[in-house]
Each structure stands twice: as C-alpha cells, then as structure tokens.
Amino acid sequence: MTVQELYESIGGSYDSAKKILQMDKLISKFILKLLDDKSCENLMAAAAAQDAAGIFEGAHAMKGVCANLGLNSLSEAASAVAEEFRPGNSRSMEQGELDRRLADIKSQYGKTIAGIQAFASQQ
C-alpha cells in the first residue's frame, strides 16, 4: 500500500498532507506516529469525566495534529468540539448533540487508526 492509497482508504486528503510534509517518507513517518498520539484518548476521558477544560485541550490538540496530517474531516470534527469548549465561549450544544459528535469522532478516529495499522504492518 502506498501512502496515497492509505489516505484514500482512511478518507484523508493526501494532497493536504503532501503540501505540509512535502515528502512521502515524511508523511509515512508522521502518520505512523499517530498510533502513539494520545489526544483522542484524552478527549474521550475528559468527556467521560465531564472535564470541560480537558475536553477543550484534547479536542484542540486533535484538531492540530489531524490538520497537520491532512486528516481534514477528523480535524474539522474535533475543531467543532474544541470551539464549543473554548474558555470564554458560551455553550450552545446540547448534551445529545455533543455525545453524537464525540461518538462520531471516536468512530472516525478508530477507522483511521485501523487503516494506519494495516499500513504499518506492511512496512
């Protein structure tokens, strides 16, 4: 599987990643690092603990990391949650909607990780 194929399989934007990292081998290096990234885990833990600050930090971190890797849909999903919990912003989301969004993030993230793991096993 090439890096490009990996991106296609996980629904990420290879072009975005290419723009930022510029070399396939770097994209490969960094996408594999996502396997070690804890921001999604942290986000889910904070949500479970109803820790608003923690939710913000986790979502914000996820947004950044995913954006750098060209995982734009994940990045946007995380961004929406981050904005909701940004200190100083007033809450507008209902619990139901928040839960739905978090579940969606978790699911997308899971699929992404699975795809990367498949890619990793081939390296």
Partner: protein, 563 residues
C-alpha cells in the same frame, strides 16, 4: 552584541516549544539543517531552558495551547525579564484570533497551523533572526563614539518622532560641515581633527539647548541638525565659530559651512529633507564669500536642471552631442612660435539647452562618477582625430586629454587606452594624460601607482592647474610627472614684480624636475614675451587661439605646410 551561535557547532540555537510531539518533530525536521535545536513540551520547561541558554538563543518557536503553562503565560514571563524579552518569539497557532494578543505580548511573528511549506517557515525564521540581530546592532550604536551625538539612524528616528508629537512645529533641517576637513587632518594630525569634531559637536549641542531639536554626526565632518525654525542662520554659525575659537584659540583655518532648508515640507521623506539642506551646503564648496546657503526655489531649479543633465548623458554619448574642441599649444623658445601639441576640451551641444558650459557639467559628472563616460568618449574621439590629421597632413600631433579620479580607479583603464592607440595606429607618446590635484588628495597612493604604471607603458603625465590648491607641492614630490601646466589666471598682472617672481619660481621648480612647462590662459604678447624670457617652453591661450572644433583646427596644420 555579536551574532549568537551555540558554542561547538557555530550554528544558531532555536527553541521549539509545542506539546504535540508531531509538531515538534515536524518543525525540527524543517529547521534542523540550519539550526541547532532544543525542544520543550510546555511553557514551564521552556522557561527553564530559556533561562539556562539565554545568551545563546536566537529564536523561540512557541505554541500557544499547552498544558501546565500556555504560550501567553510564557510570554508574560519572558517580557518581565530585561534580558529574556530580547529573544524573538515566533508564535505557533491555529487561531487567527490569537494574533493580536500575541503581538501585544511581544511576539514578533506567527507560523500558522497547519504549517505552511518548509521554505516559508525557514524563510520566516531566518528573517526574524536577521531583523532581531540587526536591531541589536543598532541599539548598541545609538550614539556615535567620537562626539556623543546620535548616529544617523537614531537621529532620523527621533526626529520623526518629534514631528509626530508636535505636528504644528515648523522645523528646519541644517547641515554643517568643515571646509576641506581632510586638510585639517593632513596639516595638524588626526588627533587635532578629532578634537575639532568633538568641540564642534559640543557647540551644536549648546545651540540645541536654546531650542528644541536634535543633531547627529552623519559622516566624517558632516553634521545634521533638526530643530525648530530659526530666523538667522549666520548668527547661529557665528556663535558656533566663536565657541570653537574660545576652545581652540585661532580658528581662522577652520571654515564652517552651513546649508539650511527652512520650514521643511513634512510631506517629504525625512532623508530628502536633509538632502535639501545638504545640497545647499555643498553649493558653498569653494565659495570664500559665503558661509551659509539657504535652500530655495532657484536651488531646486538647479537640482532639476542637473538631474536632467544626468539623465541625458547616455544620449549625449550615443548621439555625439559632446563635441571635442582643440586648443593649440605653441613652443615659444624658438625664433618663431611653432605648433607643438594641443589640448582637448569637451563641449556639450545639448538638444534642449544649447551649449552647456563644461563648468556646469564637468563638476556635476565628477561628483557622481559619470565623468568616466565623458572621458572615455573624449579619448576615443581624440585618438581618431589624431589619426585623421596624421593621414591628412602627415603630422602626428600629441594631444592632452583628461584623466579623472574615477578613471584612475578603473581596472580596465590601461586596456582601454592601449586599445584606442592600437585601433588608430598611435603610440602612448601621442596621448598626454592630464591629471588634476583633486585626484591626488583622495587616494594618493593608488593614484601614484597607476600613474607610474602608465608611464612605464610610455604615456606622459601632465599635472594640471599647478598652484591652485594646497597639495601641489606634496603631489610634485611624490608623483612622477612629465609636464607642468601653469594657469595664468593665478597671475593677475605680469607687470607686478611679485607675480613675475612667482612665475620664475614655478619655472625653476620645473627646471629642477626637468620637465617642460605649459602656460595656459595666455592672452597677450606681453605675457608671452615675459614667459619666453623666463624660460617657459609652451604656451596655450587666446593669444594664439581659443579652443576650436577639428575642422577649424586644420588651418594650424596648413599654416605649417605653407612654411
């Protein structure tokens, strides 16, 4: 302050602070080829590292969102410290809204996330480091060492600040300068020259105590003043001169000049305001009657006229608007005067202005280096003309041409001259090279070297305008010459015993050096006779002929033919 490098590798040190490993890695990868890097995960770690390495860090790349201590808190801490605040901080952020606050907290630039191309990031970091190092250098040099006045950059900055705070004040731009300052150094030594500069600066400061304004030393003996409008500039200059004499005793040999641009037009760029005052000051060069010149409309007209001449020089060369005239030089030591050689003089037939006097365009082009174009043009025309006369009349007449200071610095000078001679089948003996004193005072050693070399090639060197300046004797004693040119305008009345003795003296010097003398500007029989008796060899002047175009010059050859 010197450029910071991390000891062992000689590269600059950059700190990257971001809680996300991927960001640290990515930035590290982008910058590791150029810089040595340290990393931190949050503000607290960063501060520790910064304090340890404060004199070595060239820049900090700082993420805003971090646990433990975020970017803003980190910047607050940096700002509170005199030394740490000088290290440039580049903020890493995905939030556009954070930009304003970052700037207010002292950040100098941003790198947005997701990151831009590697080249852009490298360029930004390099530029920020460069700017900050430049700023440090400037800060170190707010005042200049010798006089304690501001340096120009600070002077300009503070002057403009002054204007911003007081937009209703009318300001004057003044430029002060010492006439022929380099001679002061030559005659009395560098220490004395420096002392004069310091005392002059003190007097200027004393003047500024009575009004609002500031001053700087922009260059050697060039002082700029920016002050509230003054009515009487002569009075100011007198006061300064008096102050100087109180300190130094007799200061008759120190001539101060002042150029003034009164009630400046604030819409003009600051540098241009000072330029106007400088233009006015430069006009006083060689003027023994005036010490103060005020910039006004006629000066402006003159500037525009000069600019138009400068703009037109290339066309003048291409279209042969420059015409070379020749003035014959006659040997007078025989029974009858005989045509010996000629001097080439350039005229400009300008399409718009008609005949522009060499007195106008030559100093102008000498001051900006364009004279080289004119000189090269003249050499070419003269070489070709000598050839033509040779073919037509069978006589090879030596002609003297000008060699300006700029030409002496031209590494291709020898090539050009020899090339011309070859093209026209001439030898170096046919082209006499006239050198003036002003060329000597600037870079004497170099000039001597070039001249000596030209002589080894067979060229002959004429020293022009002997006696018109201070360095003639000095020049004579160190530089090899072949002909001395004496300008009769320095000898007003030949009946006068003193003048006669002066000529005699100069001719004696020439005799001692074993060089012939050409007397220029000879107007009548009387002068000619006197020069003959005194032993002068050659004469040039209206007595024989004014400078004429080549067609008219032909008759001098015909006169010889007839004999």
């Amino acid at each position: 302050m010197t450029i910071q490098t991390s000891g062992y590798s000689g590269r600059r040190l950059v700190l990257i602070v971001d809680d996300q490993e991927i960001n640290r890695e990515l930035l590290g990868m982008i910058l590791e080829d150029t810089y040595d890097l340290i990393f931190a995960e949050n503000g607290q770690q960063a501060l520790e590292i910064i304090r340890e390495n404060k004199s070595m860090l060239s820049a900090i790349l700082l993420d805003l969102m971090m646990p433990v201590m975020d970017g803003f808190e980190t910047m607050e801490n940096l700002r509170a410290d005199e030394e740490l605040r000088r290290i440039p901080v580049i903020v890493l952020t995905a939030e556009k809204s954070a930009e304003l606050k970052s700037l207010q907290m002292g950040a100098v630039d941003f790198i947005t996330k997701p990151f831009e191309t590697h080249e852009v990031i490298q360029a930004r970091v390099a530029r920020i480091i460069e700017l900050s190092e430049g700023r440090d250098l400037i800060q170190a040099a707010e005042r200049e060492e010798l006089t304690g006045l501001y340096t120009f950059i600070f002077f300009a900055e503070y002057a403009q600040q002054l204007v911003r705070y007081h937009p209703d004040w009318k300001m004057d731009a003044l430029v002060l300068n010492i006439d022929r300052f380099h001679l002061l150094n030559d005659l009395h030594g560098r220490d004395y020259g420096d002392r004069v500069l310091r005392l002059l600066a003190d007097e200027i400061q004393a003047f500024l105590e009575k009004t609002d304004g500031l001053a700087c030393r922009a260059d050697a003996d060039l002082f700029y003043v920016y002050c509230r409008h003054q009515e009487d500039y002569e009075e100011i200059l007198n006061a300064i001169q008096t102050g100087l004499s109180r300190q130094l005793g007799d200061v008759a040999h120190i001539r101060l000049r002042m150029g003034a641009y009164p009630s400046v037009d604030q819409k003009m760029e600051f540098e241009l305001q000072m330029d106007r005052a400088k233009t006015a000051c430069n006009m006083l060069r060689g003027n023994f009657a005036k010490a103060v010149m005020v910039y006004d409309d006629s000066l402006h007209e003159k500037e525009l006229f000069n600019q138009s001449l400068v703009n037109g020089i290339q066309d003048a060369v291409d279209q042969k608007q420059f015409i070379v005239y020749f003035q014959p030089q006659y040997g007078i030591q025989a029974d009858e005067p005989y045509l010996s050689s000629a001097e080439a003089l350039v005229r400009w037939k300008h399409p718009e202005y008609g005949m522009v006097s060499p007195g106008t365009f030559i100093p102008l082009f000498e001051s900006n280096g364009l004279i080289s174009l004119v000189d090269n043009y003249v050499w070419r025309e003269v070489a070709a003309q000598i050839r033509r006369w040779q073919e037509e009349f069978g006589i090879t007449l030596p002609v003297s041409v000008n060699l300006s200071r700029i030409d002496l610095h031209d590494p291709a000078l020898e090539e050009k001259l020899l090339g011309l001679l070859e093209e026209n089948g001439l030898t170096p003996a046919n082209l006499m090279l006239e050198v003036t004193e002003s060329a000597y005072t600037d870079d004497a050693d170099r000039m001597i070297a070039v001249v000596e070399h030209l002589r080894t090639l067979g060229f002959r060197i004429e020293m022009d305008d002997f006696g018109s300046g201070y360095s003639s004797l000095n020049m004579l004693s160190t530089m090899p010459i072949d002909v001395l040119k004496l300008d009769m305008k320095f000898i007003q009345n030949v009946q006068n015993e003193k003048d006669f003795r002066l000529i005699q003296l100069i001719l004696d010097i020439a005799d001692f050096l074993k060089v012939p003398v050409v007397a220029e500007g000879v107007e009548n029989e009387e002068q000619c006779q006197m020069l003959k008796e005194a032993g002068c060899d050659l004469v040039q002047g209206y007595f024989f002929s004014k400078p004429v175009p080549p067609e008219e010059f032909a008759r001098f050859f015909e006169d010889i033919r007839k004999e």
